[in-house]
């Protein structure tokens, strides 16, 4: 029994050495930190008084990359909630596949762009008439 136990310990030690070698190999190369949420950083200062903001996109959120982008945007802008493709909010974040598509969506919604960052993310505002009814429910700021 003790021989079997020794063999078992030997196998465990072999596995540890094998895994440790693998671990060292995976750690050696430097890798860039990737975080798509960086596309949305800076907006949190403008939107910090808003509890809900529309997140307008023409990308398919069932696919991994657009969904990751949305989730990371949500993380960066929390505690503001990003309401996917719901234009009934005072502020809208437009993250589309192209500028043409983004501006076409803004035209349909009746919102005007306020700013656009280097990553192509547009912050837009709804026309006052439409957004007035949402102000009381969507914000806690006067």
């Amino acid at each position: 029994m003790s021989v079997a136990r020794t063999i078992f310990l030997f196998l465990c030690t072999t596995l540890i050495i094998f895994n440790a070698c693998q671990l060292i190999q995976t750690l050696t190369p430097d890798r860039p930190v990737r975080f798509a949420g960086i596309k949305f950083s800076g907006l949190e200062n403008i939107l910090k008084q808003e509890t809900h903001v529309g997140y307008i996109t023409d990308l398919n959120l069932k696919e991994t990359a657009p969904l990751a982008e949305y989730e990371q945007a949500q993380y960066v802008l929390a505690p503001t909630i990003l309401d996917v493709n719901n234009p009934d909010h005072r502020f809208l974040i437009v993250n589309c596949s192209s500028d043409a598509s983004a501006f076409s969506k803004l035209k349909d919604i009746g919102a005007r762009p306020l700013t656009r960052n280097n990553f192509g993310v547009i912050l837009a505002m709804r026309d006052q008439k439409i957004s007035d009814k949402n102000l009381s429910t969507n914000t806690h700021a006067p």
Binding site: Q22, L23, V33, E71, Y75
Partner: protein, 474 residues
Amino acid sequence: MNYWLSLIISSVLGFLCVNIFRARNRIDPALHLIASLGLGMALSAHIIFYTLFTVGQYNAGFIWFLHAALFLILLTASLRGPQAKAIANLGLLRRLRAPHRPATCLPWLRHGAGQGRSRGRRNDKILWLGIGILALLLVPLWREANFYPFGGWDAWACWNLKSKFIFLGQENWKNMLDPLMWRSNNQYPFLLPLMNVWGWNFYGSFSPLVPMFNTILFTFLTAMLMFVSLRRLNGKLFSVVPPLVLFTIPFINTLSISQYSDIVLAFYLLGSFVFLIAAHEKKNIALAILAGCFCGIMSFTKTEGTLASVVIAGLSVPYFWKNKNTQPLLGPFLGAVAVSSLPTVLFQLFWAPENTSFINGLTSPSNPVTFVRLKMIFIFLCVELISPKWTGLWVLLMCGLLLGKIRSFKNGLGIVPAFLVLYLGCTLAYYLINTHYEIIWWLQNTLNRVLYTALPTIVWWIFYALWSEQKKTT
């Protein structure tokens, strides 16, 4: 430094709390330290939860007040009772006199009091050597963590997101429970987010370092708990093998620094069994209370933790009841479970939103349970266990189980396999019944993490069975 301050405060609270439990019975001092950290972190998180519950929002002043009040209560209780002697024996004076001798700095870390001086020194050496070896694990953890400062998917989509809502949301923090937030698993309890908020409390901002440190801390605590609890059996350096077997696997390393709640759940699950089995073996009420606390705390980590907690509490009844000597432990254990799972109960009663990602396949005509789904689950489970990402660990564990033979299922250890069968059975049944998700996608993304949370307990159980038999034969 700020993070360490939060750790020190939490561990002092935890230490005093464990000290009260051990009024009547001794606890291995190294286990005492690990339990103090685990319990202290959960106490701080619970204090923030009760602040949210009573004040309605995160309030740093009130959190400080509750910490100070709890500290004074615990200190008074410690100084008045038989624990006073234990506090007096902390060895701080000795540390000042002989700082170059770590063994004498913390004499209460020794393996068992009243042992011979030479044996005590040998055990000290093994302990410090083991800690040193396990500390090496921190290097790959820290290095890997720096490549993922924001953690994995669920870190920014769920756990850290909730932390930000609580920390920055003021009275609107409950928006994280809004149905619009269904993608963030808003029906999950949130122990880890509260621990992150406790760390941020010292930074004054949401530093990404805190979630990173927290997951590294819990990984290290899990490894230490495995080592220290197995060292009790044989007193040899072999006890570092089980945590090393586990935490040198690159996949485990990556999951551990992903800032998920899984490592927190894994730690409290392991702690529940370590203390439960030790309590059963030694008829020790202090350990039974500690096991109950860990079990209750676990229920607030995530939904799987709640399930695990319920299963353990249910199994503890026959476990303690069938032996007359252990019957008195059942009350303290269940009492501790009830007290420490109060945040889970309050959350489920008052705040938990409806689970929108659930379709009952047994009653749904559009998404019914099929035989193919059942077949897929079992095939996937078998394929998962031999997947190269585990580097043969499951095969090795199977060998260990065969070596341990009947011992792994008998006496005090029988509760672990009973738990594993019930826990994994319930999880697989949920995979089968909830037809909201495509089964392959769901299994690919979550099954490995369910196994990961149970792995420290499984590894510990198998090694414990092997070495407890060795102890018996020698």
